[in-house]
Every structure is written in C-alpha cells, then in structure tokens.
C-alpha cells in the first residue's frame, strides 16, 4: 500500500513541479499545490496511466487532495504497482 502512496506522490511532484515536502496527505491540488482545473484533469490521466485504471469523471471530480487520490487508487487499482 505504501507503494501506491509513493507513486502518487511522485506523479504529483512531477506533474505540478512542487517539493515533495509539500505533498502532504491533506494537501489540496488546487488550493495548496498550485494546480488549476486542467492540471487536475491531467493529473487524473497520469493516475489512470500509472495504475491501469479508468477513473470516471464523476469520481475524478471528488479527487481533490493527495489523500483522496491515494484512497481512491488503493480501492480501485487492478494491477497497479
């Protein structure tokens, strides 16, 4: 499970060009990590790619924080690593 957290953080750091230290569980993509709505769409695409998932738009809209992303992926990932 820690592997998911690690990978999610890594994607966020790369996509949003933020310091790893900023990527705390409670950090909101838009309010704390400088993302705009399009950045979040792209971030979700990266999660889909990395964890071999398809995240429907209605679920994607609810992924607002680092913790939301980790929990969603842990619950739904098939062959992700």
């Amino acid at each position: 499970m820690a592997a998911v957290e690690e990978k999610v953080k890594q994607i966020i750091v790369e996509q949003l060009q933020v310091d790893e230290a900023e990527v705390t569980p409670g950090a909101s993509f838009q309010e704390d990590l400088g993302a705009d709505s399009l950045d979040v769409v792209e971030l979700v695409m990266q999660f889909e790619e990395a964890f071999d998932l398809e995240i429907p738009d209605e679920d994607a809209e609810k992924i607002k924080t680092v913790k939301d992303a980790i929990e969603y992926i842990e619950k739904n990932a098939k062959g992700g690593k």
Binding site: Q15, L16, Q17, L38, V41, E42, M45, E48, E54
Partner: protein, 414 residues
C-alpha cells in the same frame, strides 16, 4: 498631431542564432542554418533537411510545468520576447500594463502538439487527449502566454496570414499605437513547423528544395539553380513604442517604423500572378503611407524564398516600382532566407528585425548561394558578401499563401 512609432527592442531566434546579435553576426559571415532534420525520423520523406533552431532549451524561458503546456512555436516566441523585452528595458507595471499590448502570430501554430495528441487519441481513444491540447496548440496562445508572463493588458491579437503573418502583426501593432489604442506593443511572429506533417505537407506541394545531399547550398534565392524553399523555424519579436513614451523613459531607439502596406493577389491559392501586381501594390502602399518616394529607399529585405516563380516575380515587381534606382544597382536587395530558411509565419518578424539591424549598422546583409543569377533577375541582390551602404530607409517584404501581401517601411534613427 500624428503619433510616431519607434522600435525600442529586438528579439530573434533562428537557425543561425538564438539572439539578435548572434543572428546578425552569422548573416554577415554568410553562415547557413540548414542541416539534416534532427527533430524526427525523416525516413521515407522526400525532404530530409531544414533550418532548425539549435541548442534551444525552453526551460531557460519558461518553467517546467508551464513548458509542457506550450507548443514549440510558443517556446520560441517566449524566448524572442524575453530578449526583446530585456533589450528595450520596458518595464510593464500595474499602471502602464493596460496600455501595453501583444500582437504575435503564427502561420501554422502547434503542429507538434496536434500530431502528438492525434497519435495519442488514435492509440488510446479520446480519453487520452490532454486537457492542454487546445491551449498548447492554438495560434493566439503565443500572444496569450506573453501577456500573462509580462502583465501586458492592452490589445491582444494574433494574425494567421501564412508567410505574411508577422509582417501583418508588426504593421497592425504599429497602427494600434498610431491610433492611440496602446502606447507600446510586443509584436512579431513565431513558427515551428519542422514536424512530419509540416515537412510532409510542404513537400507534397513540391514547394521545397530537395537538395538533400547539400543542405547548406539548398536555399539560393535569385540563383538560376534554385529548386524550392527550405523550412526554417524561429521567432522575431519587436518592441514598438510611441515616440514620446519611449523618449520619456529614456529608451534607446533602434529605428522608426514609418509605413505599412497591404494587398491581395486575388489570383490563386498558392501561386502569384506573373506581373507581381500584388507585391507591387503592397510595396507601393507602404511607401505611400510612409510618405517617401521609391528613390528614398536604399535597402529591401526581400521575401524571395528560393522558388522558381516567386523570386523572379518579386524582382519584377521591384523593378517596376523602383525603376532606374533598382536597375542601376543603387538599391540593395537581399534574401536572408538563404541562411535562415523560411520561417513562414515568423519570417516577417525575423526579417523586420534584420532590416532594423541593417539600418543600425549601415550594412546590407547578403543573399548567399548566389552563383549564377537568374537571367530574369537584373537587380543588386547583394550576392554572397555584405555591402556597406548609406541606408536611411529600408523595406521588408512578406508574401503568403492565399495571395496575402505585406510590406513594412523603417527609417534609420539618428
């Protein structure tokens, strides 16, 4: 009273240099920017070379997160704008921001991004299209990104008139300042069409030189062995400013823009009429608007792309307009595309910048690869070596597909 408009900054990026001074130095040295294409695998293409910008790192001008959201033509525009703004010393503040505008166009826009995202869609379906696809690729986003970076809140436009794009951008920006809608404009154009569809598309028209075994000598405007143009990439950005505004802040004035003419051929999608009437009228309109006579002009940076019909037609139009002043070889005419390649929508910006430098340095840069002049071309094309000359007034020509023509007139600043 008529508002006068001057050039106070210059930024150029091309295959022969990533700054204006470097471009100028290499023009005078007659250096060619053409080489085999490195940006993609050219296997199966009839044309395998171009004039690519070299050693260009977009991350010098935009941060990594933003760079991903911009097509290459926007990266190049950001680089040229950076140099132009630095050289002008113009500081955009909350106070003057609404009076500073941007007019940066492109003939083609983000082919690189369009091709990439189309491939992603074909491979993985529509869900694989990046949310940044559209804003990274569309033409007016160079102007948009520049305004965001610098806080330029005045008029914001982008022209897309093929190879006349940035001549129109600069001319229209000049008019915007002249009529009082802004005090300064960041104006010019950018192009990055050295992609499979860009090269493949122009090659399909049989518009390009196929001298694959000798790229450096492929672009030979006015030479009888020319066989088509060479695609170049890059950007040319000028800072235009109302004269009193420039003086008030103690800006260094590089030249004055004094005229702008436009016309259409209304003839053919890509060809021009043999008499070059559209080119003639664009130049004539430009000189009329500048209130100068043909005899007042000492240098023309020609459009001349190294196509069989285009070069001789432009030359004929110049002969008609300038008469004995041209046939006597007093008027110097050169095509710097012989070294930079054809920047398409960026050509007018790059060449307006080169024209300004010709006025500053009092040197006409050469047309290289001019070994056997086409018998139909009888003027002074500054063959192969630069010519020192008294240049007070100079013209920069651009002609584009669709039969759209533009001509700019600059005057030396003393």
């Amino acid at each position: 009273m008529q508002r006068r408009v001057v050039v106070t900054g210059l930024g150029l990026v091309s295959a022969i240099g990533n700054t204006a001074p470097e471009v100028w130095k290499n023009l005078l040295a007659g250096r060619s920017g053409m080489a085999p294409i490195t940006g993609f695998d050219t296997t199966g293409f009839s044309v395998t070379f171009a004039a690519e910008v070299k050693n260009f790192d977009p991350l010098q001008f935009v941060d990594k997160k933003e760079a991903r959201k911009m097509a290459r033509f926007i990266h190049l525009a950001m680089a040229a704008t950076h140099e132009a703004m630095e050289s002008s010393g113009l500081k955009i503040t909350a106070e003057n921001g609404p009076r500073v505008g941007v007019h940066i166009g492109s003939g083609i826009g983000g082919f690189d991004i369009i091709e990439r995202e189309h491939s992603a869609m074909l491979a993985g379906g529509p869900r694989k299209i990046s949310p940044f696809f559209i804003p990274a690729a569309i033409i007016n986003l160079a102007a948009g990104q520049v305004s965001i970076r610098y806080g330029a809140k005045g008029p914001n436009e982008a022209t897309a008139t093929a190879c006349t794009t940035s001549a129109h951008s600069i001319g229209d920006a000049y008019r915007i300042i002249e009529r009082g809608d802004a005090d300064a404009m960041i104006a010019g154009g950018s192009e990055a069409a050295i992609t499979p569809m860009g090269i493949g598309g122009f090659a399909a028209m049989r518009a390009l030189s196929t001298r694959n075994d000798d790229p450096e000598h492929a672009c030979r405007p006015f030479d009888k062995d020319r066989d088509g143009f060479v695609v170049g990439e890059g950007a040319g950005i000028l800072i235009l400013e109302e004269l009193e505004h420039a003086k008030a802040r103690g800006a260094k004035i590089l030249a004055e823009i004094i005229g702008y003419g436009m016309s259409a051929d209304a003839y053919h999608m890509t060809g021009m009429p043999e008499d070059g009437d559209g080119c003639f009228r664009a130049m004539q309109n430009a000189l009329n608007s500048a209130k100068v006579t043909p005899q007042d002009v000492q240098y023309v940076n020609a459009h001349a792309t190294s196509t069989e019909l285009g070069d001789v037609t432009e030359s004929r139009a110049m002969q008609r307009l300038f008469g004995e002043h041209a046939t006597s070889h007093r008027l110097r005419i050169s095509s710097t595309k012989s070294m930079t390649g054809h920047l398409l929508g960026g050509a007018g910006g790059l060449e307006a910048g080169i024209t300004v430098m010709a006025l500053i340095h009092q040197i006409a840069p050469p047309t290289t690869n001019l070994e056997n002049i086409d018998p139909g071309c009888v003027l002074n094309y500054v063959p192969n070596t630069p010519q020192e000359a008294k240049i007070d007034v100079a013209l920069s020509n651009s002609f584009g597909f669709g039969g759209t023509n533009g001509s700019l007139v600059f005057r030396r600043w003393e």
